[in-house]
Structures are given as C-alpha cells and as structure tokens.
C-alpha cells in the first residue's frame, strides 16, 4: 500500500502528514487531524455534509484523496471564525435558528460562504442553486436561506 508524505495548510496551520493512497480528505481531516466539523454522510458526493474549501472552492471532501491536497490549502467550518469572532454568516445562522440537528450545518456554512464570496448579493434562486448539494434532513431550508440573505444584506460572508 502506497504511503505519501504531504504538506497541507488546514485552517491556516501547516500540517506534515503521512497518508495512505486510499485515504480521503475527509478521513484525513477527521481521523488524522481531529477536525470533526466536516461530516461523513453519504460518502458519494450527494449530501454535502463533508464540504470544505480547497484553495477557496467548495468540494466534497469524501470525494477527494488526501494525497491530492499536497501543497494546497483547506478550510473547514472550524477555520471560518477568526479569533473567536463568528462570521456574519455564522451569526445569521444563529439569529435565524438555521440549525436543528446541526449535521448539515458545517457543509451549509462552507457552501454559503463560497457563494457569498463569488456572488455577494445572490437572489433566493441563486442561494437555492448554490446549496443544492447540501442536504438538510430536518427540513430547515427556509431558515438557512433567510440566514444567507441576512448575511448578504450585512455585507457578505
């Protein structure tokens, strides 16, 4: 079994890791680095609970190999808040109670964060399209959409 030495920046920290070929980015985050924000839901790129930013773009970390992120930058939900200061988006999720069980929330925040970066004033339709790869089984979509709208009104992510 192939092992690979990789260097990856995760939430601003440089990490030097030994990873097997078949290890996914999600496994690397959760099982090597104890970063449990990204969740394992479907393992098939459908549910989005594992969504993280890879070089600023959202990806399903269950569908990326750890070895592929060598030399790259990963941000998980843990990396959004700076010095204990929640982002406007996170604040808006709290204000709107856009969380029920919380399983989808880390992925929702990452996808919404990325949306507001590329499109600071999305329409409701654009928000829905951007979040279509993030499933919430508590059916909390309306509150989530309202939260993204509030964050956008307050000047983006």
């Amino acid at each position: 079994m192939g092992m690979h030495s990789i260097t990856v920046t995760v939430n601003g920290e440089k990490e030097y890791l030994e990873v097997p070929s078949h290890m996914t980015l999600l496994q690397m985050l959760r099982e090597k680095l104890a970063i449990t924000g990204p969740k394992n839901g479907c393992s098939a790129g459908e549910c989005g609970a594992c969504t993280v930013l890879l070089d600023g773009e959202p990806v399903n970390s269950c569908m990326v190999l750890a070895v592929e992120v060598d030399g790259h930058e990963v941000v998980t939900v843990e990396g959004l808040a700076k010095e204990g200061q929640l982002t406007p988006l996170q604040q808006a999720f709290i204000e709107h109670n856009a969380v029920q069980c919380g399983f989808c929330t880390p992925g929702m925040l990452i996808s919404a964060e990325a949306l507001l970066k590329r499109n600071p004033h999305p329409t409701e339709e654009e928000i829905k399209e951007a979040l279509v790869g993030n499933l919430c089984r508590c059916t909390g979509y309306i509150r989530i959409i309202r939260a993204v709208q509030t964050a956008a009104e307050k000047g983006g992510a």
Partner: protein, 295 residues
Amino acid sequence: MLARPGLPRFDYVRAETADEVVRLLQERGEAARPFMGGTDLFVRMRDGVIHPQVVVDVKYLPGIRDVVYDAQAGLTVGAAVTMNEVARHPDVVAHYPLLAEAANSVASYQLRNRATLGGNLCNASPAADTAPATLVLEGRIVLYGPDGEREVPATEFFLGPGKTARGPAEIVTAIRYPLPPKGAAGRYLKLGRNKVGDLSIVGVAVFGFPDETAPSGYRFRIGLASVAPVPLRATAAEEILAEEPPGEETFVKAAEEAMNEASPIDDVRASAAYRKAMVRALTLRGLRAVWEQLA
C-alpha cells in the same frame, strides 16, 4: 461506523506524461484506472463495482486542464477541465453557450468543482449531461494510446451504458469542438426529479442554425440523454426540420419523431412511457426556444 466504508485500498500514482499512463494501463490492464475528478470512479469503487489496484491521476498531464479557443480551429477542452471551469470560461460562454449550460446542469456546485468534462463522457452514462451538447456541437473525443493520438466523433464514441470506443490502454485527453455555424443557437433542457442537482430523467439538447443548403433554410440538431442505452442524436427528427418550413407545425412533428427515436427503460427515476412523453415535450420546448433566438 461510517455510513459506508471508506475507499478500498489502492495505490495512487500521479502521472507526469501520457506515455506513462499508457504504459501503466498496458502493464496492469483492468487493475489500473485513470482518475480525474473521481466523482464517478470513487462511487463505483465504494459500491464494489470495480476494484482497481492502481489509481492513475491523469489530471497533471500537460494541457489536460487547458481550455483553448481559436477563431479558426474552434474549441479544445482538456479532459480534466472541471464542469465549473467549462461553465464559466469566457470563450465557452461566448461561443459555446450550450456547452456551458449543459456543464452547469451537472449535480451540485461543489461536485462540479471536481467532475470533469472528459470523465462525464468517459463514464458513458446514458444520462451524461454533457453528452447531448457534445453530440449536437459535433464534438470529437481526443484519445491517446499505444499508437499515439486519434480522434473519434462523439456520435461514434458511446457504445453502451458505461462502454465507449476508448481502448483499454487509451485515455481521453481532450474534446474538440468545431466552430459553431454562424447565427447558431442552442438550449439544453433537463428534467430531473428536482429542479436542479439531480440526474436527468430526460435531457434534450437542441441546436439550430440558418443553412441555405437545407430546403427549410435551417438545420437543427437534437441530442438526447437518459432515453436509450447511449446518448444519441435524433436524426429522423433533424431531417424533418431540414425539409419542412420551421414553425409550430413542423416542431410538433419533429418532437413526435424524436420521441419515436428514443428507446428508454423503466427505472427508479421514471417509467419508459413517461420518458418518451418527456422527450416530446422537451424537444418541442427546446425547438421553440431555439427558434425564438434564430428568427
């Protein structure tokens, strides 16, 4: 416990040259698999459908992530260009908006950051969203193998569900699209169980352009997905559109013909009968939309 087990064990190789890939595929046969975005490959590995021992990452090959547009030669999209890159590339948006529309209809935003144009076509799902657009834009699949490079027209590339004209030691390196005819317009209409994000129940690409050599003064091309073992062109419908004057009456007739050309199956997403009806509905809608842009 994980919802499903992680990936089965394999060795990862990052290929630097196309020849290195060809050599690995020749030596290891079925045990080696080319890999780009992994959005189909990893799912099939997790489901136990395939068991490669070596996963060969080909997305670092020279040029395989490039989009090159030339006002004479047309568009070359590297096989490993992602769906989001295709959908937002200025040359694709300006000259091949149909391809951009199709690429943008695949799955979700985060999946489109990984899914590649070459992978979508190589996977050869009858439901592949970029296949109808590639068929009607007369795309050519560029393959590299033991005998060097060759091109296969998209119409000859799909052989069956999951089966293509790609040889066992070949890889797809790019897709070439000729310049679209002057004044062309196109639409990709997709019906899924949800408005966006789902696999297609039916996908219809309609592409039309003025052509003095056609009795009707126009030619239309129609590409269908999810309604046959392979994505296909509705050539009998296209003939009607080339012969008879464009307008509602002809469009209704052509849509009916497109429906007759489809040979769908019943599956978890829809019945064959519903799919056929939707081929007719979407083809008609697509023809109207394209005609609105042409007329």
